[in-house]
């Protein structure tokens, strides 16, 4: 009986396996996309699923079937760890400006050639719709390695039921002891250091170790006030009112606002800005498909869907000049995302992050780790642990003595 059951179970599971494997199917081409979490319209919340959209588009264009696999990262540094480790194959990645600079100078990117690839496949090329402001930027002077996808600035989000309006003057809000335990800080080194750099009036791209050390001290001073170092965890914490203050990227504020109406946002006087672009990492087995994917994301419908889904500003004229898009976003969103008199290229030269020398990067990495591991646990934990260790040691010694005595008797 039991045996029959065992055999039946094994057979059933093997069948399941075969079914699974065959259900996976074989497609002619595969594309591995490595993106930020929730950074593409994926079919949820009644959006368009751009990945399957691309698969159809590709099949129409070339007659070959395509399967796109998406995996996600949550900081440029994580992305760099994966790409430089070279352990996985990706075809399209979405790094930010300073990281593109780093990947490019280290020879980890392949040229995109979006125009010539489109020509080869007879596809309409949408690259020309990229705004003038987003061409020839410092991280890719010849626009050879990257195609811009989104851009934005860092601002401060706060909960107006917990934070007084008059405290919201600038970066010092993140150091305000009044809100101890309700402040969130970035969980990636460059953005976190940037908050301290603006507070102290230090250049973002300084190569002087003393400057970085000063920022480290400032962050260390802030650590007792911090509830948590977060990246995308900020959503839940701000939405639920668990945290009151956090610095994050402008577009994400609107996603949070949809859930919690008490949230407010402002840009400090000086703040960093970024552009996230699409690149092809070295090791990609089919850069042409990658270029076609990028081109597809620039075309009107997917571009608008994605821009509306993630609420980031888009460098694509097909998006920001589209009236339906402007209407959907509303006046306030448009004002925050696309402020007037804002010239991206000029701003980026002042407030953009650059790649730094390997020595400085190494130093920042160490400071960041030191910051994360500094500070012990509350003394109670050590006392409890010590007491428990003492009790256990006493028990062990006692049992040894008993055993010895017993051994003497027999």
């Amino acid at each position: 009986m039991r045996k029959a059951f065992a055999i039946a179970a094994c057979l059933a599971l093997s069948l399941l396996l075969i079914a699974c494997l065959s259900a996976c199917g074989r497609s002619d081409e595969v594309l591995y996309v490595y993106n930020w979490g929730e950074y593409l319209a994926d079919g949820s919340y009644d959006t368009m699923d751009v990945l399957s959209g691309f698969e159809e588009y590709y099949e129409e264009l070339t007659g070959r079937s395509m399967k796109v696999y998406l995996t996600t990262f949550d900081s440029n540094e994580d992305l760099y760890a994966k790409i430089s480790g070279g352990t996985s194959r990706y075809d399209v990645i979405f790094p930010s400006d300073y990281m593109i600079d780093r990947l490019r100078t280290e020879g980890l990117l392949l040229p995109v050639n979006i125009e010539s690839v489109c020509e080869k496949y007879g596809a309409e090329c949408y690259y020309e719709y990229i705004g003038e402001d987003f061409r020839g930027l410092f991280y890719d002077p010849d626009d050879e390695y990257s195609v811009p996808y989104t851009y934005g600035r860092v601002g401060i989000i706060y909960n107006c039921t917990q934070v007084d309006e008059e405290d919201c003057t600038g970066w010092e809000l993140l150091w305000n002891p009044k809100y101890a335990g309700r402040i969130l800080q970035f969980n990636n080194s460059r953005d976190a250091f940037a908050t301290a750099q603006y507070l102290l009036g230090i250049d973002l791209n300084t190569e002087d170790p003393a400057d970085w050390k000063a920022c480290y001290d400032k962050l260390l001073e802030q650590k007792p006030l911090i509830q948590s170092y977060v990246m995308d965890e900020i959503y839940n914490k701000m939405e639920s009112g668990e945290a009151a203050i956090g610095a994050y990227y402008a577009g994400d504020f609107f996603t949070m606002l949809e859930v919690n109406e008490d949230l407010r946002f402002f840009y400090p006087e000086n703040t960093s800005l970024f552009v996230d672009s699409m690149c092809i990492p070295k090791g990609s087995e089919n850069p042409e498909n990658a270029a076609l994917f990028m081109n597809y994301l620039l075309s009107e419908e997917p571009a608008i869907e994605c821009a509306e889904f993630i609420y980031y500003a888009s460098p694509d004229a097909l998006v920001f000049e589209n009236e339906d898009y402007q209407e959907d976003m509303g006046e306030y969103v448009m004002e925050v995302l696309y402020p007037e008199d804002f010239h991206f290229a000029e701003e980026l030269n002042v407030n953009g992050m650059r790649n730094l020398s390997p020595e400085t990067l190494e130093y920042i990495g160490r400071l960041w780790e030191d910051l994360k591991i500094s500070g012990g646990l509350p003394a109670g934990v050590y006392w409890t642990a010590a007491a428990l260790a003492a009790v256990i040691a006493a028990l062990v010694i006692y049992s040894f003595i008993v055993k010895r005595r017993r051994a003497r008797w027999y």
Partner: protein, 265 residues
């Protein structure tokens, strides 16, 4: 005394099931949040069946854990037989202590050590994007093996050694005697090993985190990536379904097992 222990068990199960209860409740949430309930609906179950990435991850996980469990059960059963027959006690002890390493080692160290091996090997042969389904499968088989061996070995020890000898005296070849006499006897141990391997592989996150690459995301890795952004309750819906399925399977297994024990008496 009886009341006291009853109250104790209520508290214990309350503690163990509180997060599962929260999970199940939120899966029926009408709102967006994973923190507040706003109305009851089946919305997230519908969302889940629309979410291609989650379904793909679930399928991947099943594929991986069934293959890992099958291979490790096969290898592990063979190994248990071999170890049991070893004549040199010292060799036996050595093999057993190597077998135990993945059980003693923290998962994170096992994961990292395998990753370092793969990375280094890939560097040697010059094929760098090495992390894939296959590396994941190797890692899973490696940490499942000891559990299979340790569930089969006791059964082998319990078996009367004269049984296979008798079979051979009656004209069986050694292979026949193994297949017809020993295998049926140790099959409950093999089944336990298979189920353990499947469970461990299905639930593993730490080792997979270090040995998986692009294009093959298991459920736990998918959830890990998702948890960093806002968690959508549809993953709670999937977990609730898995919970229900496991509960059902366990109850069926319990009923079947229970009846057999009665029969055996």
């Amino acid at each position: 005394m009886k009341k006291l222990s009853g109250a104790y068990l209520v508290l214990l199960f309350g503690f163990l099931y509180a997060p599962l209860l929260v999970m199940i409740m939120i899966s029926f949430n009408g709102g967006e949040s994973t923190a507040h309930m706003t109305g009851v609906s089946l919305r997230w179950y519908r969302e889940m069946f629309k979410d291609a990435a989650t379904l793909q991850a679930f399928k991947n996980t099943l594929t991986l854990s069934v293959s890992a469990a099958l291979v490790s059960t096969f290898l592990g059963t063979l190994a248990a037989v071999g170890i049991e027959r070893m004549r040199s006690a010292r060799l036996k002890a050595l093999v057993m202590s190597i077998t135990n390493i993945p059980m003693m080692n923290p998962d994170i160290v096992t994961g990292i050590s395998l990753m370092l091996l793969f990375v280094f090997m890939a560097g040697l042969i010059g094929y760098t994007p090495v992390l894939s389904f296959w590396t994941l499968l190797i890692a899973h088989i490696s940490f499942c093996l000891p559990y299979v061996i340790l569930s089969v070995l006791p059964k082998l020890r319990q078996m009367d050694k004269s049984l296979p000898e008798a079979a051979m005296d009656l004209g069986c070849t050694p292979l026949q005697s193994f297949l017809r006499v020993e295998l049926p006897f140790i099959s409950p141990g093999i089944l336990t090993g298979f189920i353990m391997a499947f469970t461990l592989s299905f639930d593993d996150f730490v080792i997979s985190n270090f040995t998986s690459g692009a294009g093959f995301e298991t459920l736990t890795i998918h959830i890990f990536a998702m948890i960093k952004k806002s968690v959508k309750p549809d993953i709670y819906a999937l977990s609730t379904l898995i919970f229900a399925a496991v509960l059902l399977l366990l109850l069926v297994y319990d009923l079947l097992g229970g009846r057999e024990e009665d029969m055996a008496v």
